[in-house]
Amino acid sequence: MSEDTLSVRNEMDIISVRGFGRNVAAQLGFGVVDQCRITTAISELARNIVVHGGGGSVTIKTIQNDKKGIEIICKDKGPGIRDMELALKGGFSTVGGLGIGLSGAKRLMDEFQITSFTGKGTTVMIRKWLK
Amino acid sequence: MKENEEIVIELSGLLEDNAGDLKKQWVKEMTEMGLLEKLTPVEIEQQSSAIYDTCVLTLKTGMYEAAKKYAREMAKKGVLEAMTVDQIIMGMLKLRDVYGRFIFSEYKKDVEKLYEVLGVYEPVANRILSIVALSFVEERERVIKEQQQAMLALSTPVLQIRDQILVLPLIGTIDSARAAQIVEQLLNSIVDAQASVVIIDITGVPIIDTAVANHLIKTIQAAKMLGADAIITGISPANAQTLVTLGVDLSMMTTRGTLRSGVKLADEMLRIEVVEKR
């Protein structure tokens, strides 16, 4: 079991946090493709933190019970997501991206949970299990 | 707590002092049960000493790491050398009996003390037994998993038929684990062989459902991103009908009826001229 929290304030932090995530995933025994999926999902969510959330943190945990896996929690104290359904549908972007950050991260991982309060911020939890 | 510590020291001291006799007793009982038939006398001596010492060490230190490590090694060896799990666990149960009887005879005059000692001894003995049993289960699961993976890899050969053409004949039922494995293997093969066309032949796939169709489409798109074209061949009429009914977007796929016409198309795409010998 390991747990690390990294703060994410600017775009340089996006690169370091996803690099850190890749190392944790590799050490847990994830294959190259899963490492890529996990790293990309972290990158998408970390970019949301920087662009929409005005900074926040990413926590990367290893799970080693009956099932092994990685858990990532991305938190920001930004304005929150007003229309969740639309944000998760994909193709929706407020800043001219491809608009597939949230829905993409969801598709790349095994588990996805999001809680968002208008004016208080957004927390996204994603998990991938080692098969 | 402090009393416990004293008992632990006393008990482990006793077990160490009497190691020779107790080990002999244990080996004798196991031999009578026919548990050691496959081991040489040297192996018996080594293994019984190692197990005996590990158990005493675990009792003494309260640390189960050594026991876990030893059990894991034993599990590996046991499975490999066809020593049955049953035999090894019976052996461990016997050791627990030998220790237990020894404790009983040592403390029988002081029943209260006997209870205290058993109170220390029993949880440790039980924990060690559960560690041993679990190690075997884990080892077996690991072997099964390894074999499954080996079978997965065997079940999908990627054949290179020309410098730039790969053929992937799919045979048998495709579940999502196998589909994921096939996709990864094919994409890696494309890059390894620097192949610009890949033919996926599904003549041998009895049933295509939405999940399999989606994996196919995903493969085609990912191959395209790498810079390779994919051709699907051998879709049976029944499968074609299912795909249409399911509403799968076939415009994504380049298809040909047979592997032969697929290869021909690939040649045309690469402008390879095949001259037939007369």
Binding site: V33, R47, G97, L98 | Q194, K218, M225
Partner: protein, 126 residues
Amino acid sequence: MEIPILKIEDFLIVSFQIELSDHEIDMLRESILDKIKETGARGLVIDITALKTVDSFMARSLSSIADTATLLGARTVVVGMQPAVALTLVELGLRIKWKIITALNLESGVNLLRKSLKSGKEMVHE
């Protein structure tokens, strides 16, 4: 970090060797476009062999570099994508928006450009 933009024949070649920040990608886009204008290059090859992660921002940047370069007269090919990256991009849901022409390696990328320039035809992306 200065990324070299190499010129050979009528083509420019850019190779991404490290992970780039958003800002660095924007800077790189500028200098690629300047260089196309300056040299009158008719083709652009972007080599991403070394990239282990391509997220949607990076994909969008590549796509916009390719679009703008094409407008300036340089057809663009992206080469050397890692298998894991390709699979991840597909799963990310990029398929609809990805219109970039790709090739397996630098050599086939350059060949593709040559052929397309010689025939005068557009490279097609099915």
